[in-house]
């Protein structure tokens, strides 16, 4: 696939300010920004897109530099491919530490006011967090949209699953999802329309998945009097696989490979690099550059619209016309180079404004602009999945460290009457061993050499014994919204450009901790069925350590940032309407996970993408 961001598509501060003809100003080039730009341009609209980072890495070579950055980084954390940029900083896990009660950690970009420290992060670069997302694309369940009504927990959405279902299909086409609908009979019945298939066939389950399935298929657990049979099922994934001939009424599907400035044939099928997070080296995984490439191609077509991209442009303030409450412009700081805070401040204008900078940055921008909204809910109800990890050694060699990060999981506890009492969860079976929990395989190697005093043959045998048996279950636990989990800003904490940094106060709610405690027990049950040697250990020194009912757990963030500008039925109970349009500012759309009033047990990107189609229709209506 051809992605050409040639100089004529990049604009300058001067030009951007002078051009009064933009239909839409979109802040951000991630998933939401790209899809909305594509939908608008397709209908002939002119779009100005602001991207906070430099756009130098637009070719395959640039992409490969990210891969190299990752290879040479000994820490290999999620953000390691992406260079430091003090003008548009991002959260990075290695800067975290445990907080003492009352302590505030201001060393990390997100000021963490505790009590819980979140290691969630997002990426401020072209492509946004789609650069390092895992690309698992389960849909939310119909019940997730009405948890208040059904389970007396969290908040109901103002729309139902059926309202969003067709948009899920659109998102799945755009992102190129491989999946097996038949394998995904969720508890509560299949949420798919009859005869629906994903664009591509499901990715094969890993050898490890099969081994786990052999151990648990046919067994069940009892929960709140309900018997829940267990099974390993494949996740749908936005990763290229084998096209499904039955897709689209038999029309089939053509995968979109790597994007580049010139032709390159790669990425049309996942090769199993086991590196979805932080970066897929062959671009078999969807990232928003693939959608942007389509938008850029439209520039050459007569009946299509046009996009201009302004790089190194950090939105600093949303300006409001006091008379009608409309947004009159967005103040932008455009810096010269990442190495220097030198910048000019401009104001760009369009008919509508779309902010797509993910839940934390969007709330940060609104709050920094003095716009907490009528309901006062901007920044509040921050949500992120709580992950707990359980790990051990399988009794036989299970071939860990091969295949995409996660191909299968246990989805049977995503829904059920038990959700009245405890949070539901989805279980990922990790193909990349204990890496997330312990820093494996490097930590194992160094401990076998330095502590185990092994070398030569015994070392090789030790590595096989220690690594090829690794199993890690990651429990993605539902976290209901809570107003006191929130993002704020504080003038004492700013970045290099003087923009206020986000401050986060967060506690994992008791409801989710109950789910976490059950998850630990569930893992023990599954481990005993598999004969797994349980190596799970939670370290009180870890920043995510939480004690619940006398037992310690490590809770990790899921990078599934939601809920800081939730949608609802009125300006008093929410920030945006069902089209993600601000109640207070009629020409402003806040698009992204922040609009979601609940996250259930689904990775949030497919839902965010689906919402974009809904919003784009409303925008087009408003513009016409």
């Amino acid at each position: 696939m051809h992605l050409r961001i040639d100089p004529t598509r990049l604009t300058t501060p001067h030009e951007a300010v002078g051009d009064g003809h933009y239909d839409a100003v979109i802040v951000g080039s991630g998933l939401s920004g790209a899809i909305i730009a594509e939908q608008l341009c397709k209908e002939g609209k002119r779009v100005l897109m602001l991207e906070a980072s430099p756009i130098t890495n637009k070719s395959l070579r640039g992409y490969n530099e990210y891969v190299t950055n990752f290879f040479v980084s000994p820490s290999k954390d999620n953000q390691s491919p992406f260079p430091e940029n003090p003008n548009a900083p991002m959260p990075r896990t290695p800067t975290l530490r445990k907080l003492q009660p009352g302590e505030v950690n201001t060393n990390s970009y997100i000021v963490q006011a505790g009590p819980y420290v979140s290691d969630s992060n997002y990426t401020r670069t072209l492509g946004g967090t789609t650069m390092h997302w895992e690309a698992k694309t389960p849909r939310m369940l119909p019940e997730d949209f009405k948890t208040r009504t059904l389970y007396d927990q969290g908040l109901d959405w103002p729309i139902g699953y059926d309202d969003i279902e067709p948009d899920y299909q659109r998102a799945e086409r755009e992102m190129g999802v491989s999946g097996d609908v038949a394998a995904l009979r969720y508890p509560g019945g299949s949420p798919y329309p009859k005869n629906y298939v994903y664009p591509m066939q499901g990715l094969p389950l890993s050898y490890l998945d099969h081994m786990v399935d052999r151990g648990i298929a046919g067994t069940s657990v009892e929960l709140d009097g309900e018997t829940i049979p267990l099974q390993v099922r494949p996740y749908p994934q936005a990763r290229n696989g084998v096209p499904n001939a039955a897709y689209d009424g038999g029309k089939g599907y053509t995968p979109v490979g790597a994007v580049n400035t010139h032709q390159v044939d790669i990425g049309e099928r996942c090769q199993g690099n086991t590196n979805c997070v932080p970066i897929c080296p062959v671009q078999a995984k969807y990232w928003s550059g693939k959608t942007l490439a389509k938008v850029l191609r439209m520039n050459d077509e007569l009946d299509k619209g046009e996009i201009k991209i302004l790089p190194q442009a950090v939105a600093s303030k949303v300006e409001i016309n006091p008379e009608n409450g409309h947004v009159s412009g967005i103040q932008v700081k455009v810096y010269k180079t990442p190495g220097s805070p030198e910048h000019e401040t401009i104001t760009v204008r369009g008919k509508i404004y779309v902010i797509t900078t993910a839940a934390i940055e969007t709330a940060r921008l609104m709050l920094a602009s003095g716009l907490p909204s009528s309901s006062g809910l901007v920044g509040r109800n921050f949500m992120d999945h709580a992950f707990i990890l359980c790990w051990g050694l399988m009794p036989e060699i299970c071939g860990t460290y091969r295949g995409s990060s996660c191909t299968g999981g246990i989805l049977d506890l995503r829904n059920g009457p038990f959700r009245k009492n405890q949070a539901a969860f989805s279980v990922d079976i990790h193909n990349d061993g204990w890496g997330w929990a312990t820093g494996s395989p490097y930590s194992d190697l160094t401990s076998l050499v330095d502590d185990g005093n092994l070398f030569g043959g015994p070392l090789r045998q030790g590595l096989v014994d220690r690594l090829s048996h690794q199993l890690l279950l990651a429990f993605m636990i539902d976290v209901p919204p809570s107003e006191s989990n929130r993002i704020t800003v504080d003038p004492q904490y700013t970045d290099a450009l003087g923009n206020m940094r986000p401050n986060l106060s967060f506690t994992t709610p008791e409801y989710s901790m109950r789910g976490a405690a059950y998850a630990r027990q569930f893992a023990k049950t599954v481990f005993s069925r598999l004969g797994v040697d349980d190596h799970t250990q939670y370290n009180p020194e870890n920043y995510g350590y939480v004690v619940y009912e006398g037992v310690g757990y490590e809770i990790r963030g899921g990078n599934h940032l939601c809920g800081t500008h939730i949608m609802g039925t009125s300006k008093n109970n929410s920030v945006v309407d069902t089209n993600q349009r601000s109640w207070d500012h009629a020409n402003l759309y806040l698009v992204g996970g922040g609009s979601m009033p609940s996250i259930g047990t689904a990775n949030v990107s497919p839902t965010i993408a689906a919402l974009c189609y809904r919003s784009a229709r409303a925008m087009l209506k408003q513009l016409s």
Binding site: L60, N64, P243, T254, P255, G257, H262, Q263
Partner: protein
Amino acid sequence: MDSHDIATLESLEEHLFSAMVLEHATLPAYLTALYSIKPGTNQDASNILRVVAVEEMLHMTIAANLLNAIGGTVNLTQTGFVPSYPTYLPDSIDDFQIHIEAFTPSALETFLKIERPVYLGTVQQRVVKRRIPNHVWCLSPNKDGTTQYTTIGEFYNAIKESFIRLEAEAQAKGSTIFTGDPAFQITSEYYYSGGGKLFPVTNLDSAVQAIDLVIEQGEGYVDEDKPTGVFDQYGEIAHFYRFEQLRLGRYYVRGDKPGFPTGPAIEIDWDAVYLTVVDPKLADYPEGSELYQAALNFNIAYAQFLALLTEAYNGKRELMMRAAVPAMFDFRNLMNRLIRNPAPQQHGRHAAATFEIDATNAILGTAKA
């Protein structure tokens, strides 16, 4: 009908098998050049070599589809399927040899010759008489090998015409030459990539479409009414122009005229290459050494791979994905390992895979006996 036309179904089958031999014969050369590039360097050249090699595999599979479509038998394990290097390929201007060698300027020139489009030459006749040593395999319309096709394009054109003629003859008799089992057709889902370039050959239309794809990907767009374009109708760039980008140091972009690319610059670091023994033989490596054993193991693995492919082309197409594709990824590692090892007593040159498949089979046969 000329004497060198393909008159019978049997002859067409032989030609299609030759097509598989031909498409495969370039692979050892492309792969060796590709893996001789030191990792992390010459990314543009690597990408181009990789894409071309993958497409040669695709072409071989298309030839298998064509052969299977008319009920022929694919057998990659027969003696002579893998030529002995250096080997010859026809060219309109002069003969040239294909070597197994590292990525060097002369290797690049060879690659350009392999993929050189028809129109650039002054081809008037389909076959020529060349002096080619007896043991050397060549594209010949007749079994005795006295004459050879002038170019690869002419070879494929002959095949295309034969398909058209033989099918017309069969249709006239109320039958068809497309009698092969459709379940033997390899389609995209069984192949390495999901690009949708592999489709089943079940009738004349699909057969012609398949042959055109091979010609276009190799040499460029050959419609005689139009000047040959750098990009084909799908926006794909032909192999020749891909390699020419390396020679000219710049990428083609849409709208560029042949010879005048305007895209981003390409730089080649000719020093960032492991110089390998040219056309290596097992005999070049000390017998009993780890190196010798590894080179032999490679050949054994490759022979097994060809046997596996043969099975895949003969109805067990799920083997493509399950076994043949992982094997390809394995060869990358095995070849890399060989290439990074210096070859003793070879003037500082590095080792490489020898692709002596027939010889290996002979050794294995002896061992068994």
